[in-house]
């Protein structure tokens, strides 16, 4: 059985919480790095946690086309495919 987008979204939100220092509400359209104003090193930290949580490797080129929570859900969905 496949994991639903909603489940992935919730899990990502949980992982993102500690980087979300200003407690900005997370929605599908939240731009992960710019809306939360986290720098590139912290983004890498977060991505590592996502990779570890799902045991996947997200290629860099894919990352450069990923902005929003919705984008990232899609990436995770296709990587765990």
């Amino acid at each position: 059985m496949s994991t639903s987008d909603k489940e992935i979204f919730d899990k990502l939100s949980g992982l993102l919480q500690k980087f979300n220092t200003k407690n900005i509400e997370l929605t599908e359209t939240t731009d992960i790095s710019t809306d939360l104003n986290i720098d590139s090193v912290a983004v890498m930290d977060f991505i590592m946690e996502v990779e570890d949580a799902y045991d996947i490797d997200i290629p860099l080129n894919v990352l450069s086309d990923t902005r929003t929570m919705k984008d990232l859900v899609k990436v995770v969905q296709s990587e765990i495919g």
Binding site: S33, N37, D39, M44, I47, V62, L63, S64
Partner: protein
Amino acid sequence: MTQAEQKELKKTPRWTSGMNQIAGEFSTLTDGLDYAAHGDTGLNFYAPRGALEHVLPYRDLREKARSTGRKLLRAGLRGGERVAIVAETGPDFVITFFACQYAGLIPCPVPYAMNMGGHDAYVLRIEGMLNAADASAVIGPDLSKEAISEAAARTNTRMVLTHTSLQELDEDGELAPFNSDDVAYIQYSSGSTSAPKGVLISQKAATTNTRMILQHGLKVTTDDRAFSWLPLYHDMGLVGFLLSPMMAQTTVDYLATPAFARRPALWLKLMSDNRSTVCYAPSFGYDLASRRVSAAASDLDLSSWRIAGIGGDMVRPDVLHNFIERLGVAGFKSTAFNPSYGMAESTLAVTFAPLEDEIIIDVIDRAQMKETGKAHAASEIDKRNAPEKVRSFVACGLSMPDHEIVVRDDAGTILADREIGHVLIKGPSLMTGYYLNDNATNEIMGDDGFMDTGDMGYMLNGQIVLTGRAKDLILHNGRNIWPQDLEWAAEQLSDLKDGDVAAFGIEDEVGEEHVTVLVQCRFADPARREHVRHEVSMLVHRAAGVECNIVLVPTRSLPFTSSGKLSRAGAKEKFLSGEIAPLEMDTPHLVAVG
């Protein structure tokens, strides 16, 4: 890769028994590789989670580079043409770089996309680089094809290849390796995204500088095994940890930069596993790793690590101190730290601290430095009791044989020890010039052969101490950030126009720079102000991937020079003194730092 293949993968040895080490006595890069190919040493690439992924002995590298060189000729490239190569840390880039050396083509290593959501900014960057080198071809991994094609379509670059499509070609034509009077490669190191400058390095500069690094700086031996996570499109990665080790037949183990960024502690684990002896990183790399290593430090063995070089940013004493505290238990020696100074315009290396010496930290009096431009040693009382009155700088070492380093005042007079001025260098490692950019070359190259580095500093018993940048560069996490890039990104916003934005770094008490962006805003409505702030934050973030403090300021508050250029230094000074006051905002986190 199947499990069986993975099992067969065996990393290259530290040294080839019976082989005589020749440390950099070659007249071209291909001469160096031809010799290294006689042994069993070479390059090993680790995957993001620490598994050995590719092994490329120098012997195979030479063979594949020669074959790929003939494929480049088959593709229609001709001697002297520029070939941009996406420098991912892996065999494909390295093979193609040396293929160019054998085919007489000029390789230009370019970065890969790294920032989240950074696609557009990346394409723009590559476009600028292709233009600066007037590149005929751009080659990258399959996944980068879309982005590099997009960039090439906006330039005169006629050929886009992936490593896969290149390897599918037949071999053709005669290899014509560069000789000792020829060029070697183009390195992008300076200039903003839209107008990058390509540093043209000759075979003579490359072979001289690598020889200096090997013989004078590192005093390399057959017991050495190098480790690197530095990007291969930077001088420290390319020259320090690909060309130099190859020119001494030394084995290198690599972890790709993004893999390091995600798992900094893996760096130390792999160095421990390999008993690595030489590795360089900017201060922030040591900072990241020591924060992440946690309790596992005692399981590591870093006692073989004899040179822990520091370069690429201002050396921060507090970071080095923390690293020693955390990693001493793993056998890391404080004398391994080696502050060094370098830049792409000098191929790489300019100065090295003497090996096995403790770091020299010069504590000076802040007020006197500001008033007199001299770095007077602080009093013992202030050092102990008044940390706010002193400033610590690290001595970055001595010049190399046949090379010179001097500090001069604005009028060009050579200054005495402890007098702060412009740092200039001279010697056979210097670049030929900025490719196709005589104006930029003439700006820094003097008739007397000295090149202005753009850095400020002072001499201390023959060692150079750097105090900052003369230009407006922002140093953040080991990266050079051009303020123009941030300003242009912000000015994309339709509410803003040219000259409305000033970006600069503000140093905190430990010397870490924080990016501050002042934005002139003409709106009185709080909601519109917040909108501008948010949009600017997003644009800047997307362009540079850095956390920054966006501060809205009144219109006509930013200062300009007499020639009508934005004065960033002036804006920073007025901001810090309070003369430029931030506009009132609704949200509390916009309070200015400083």
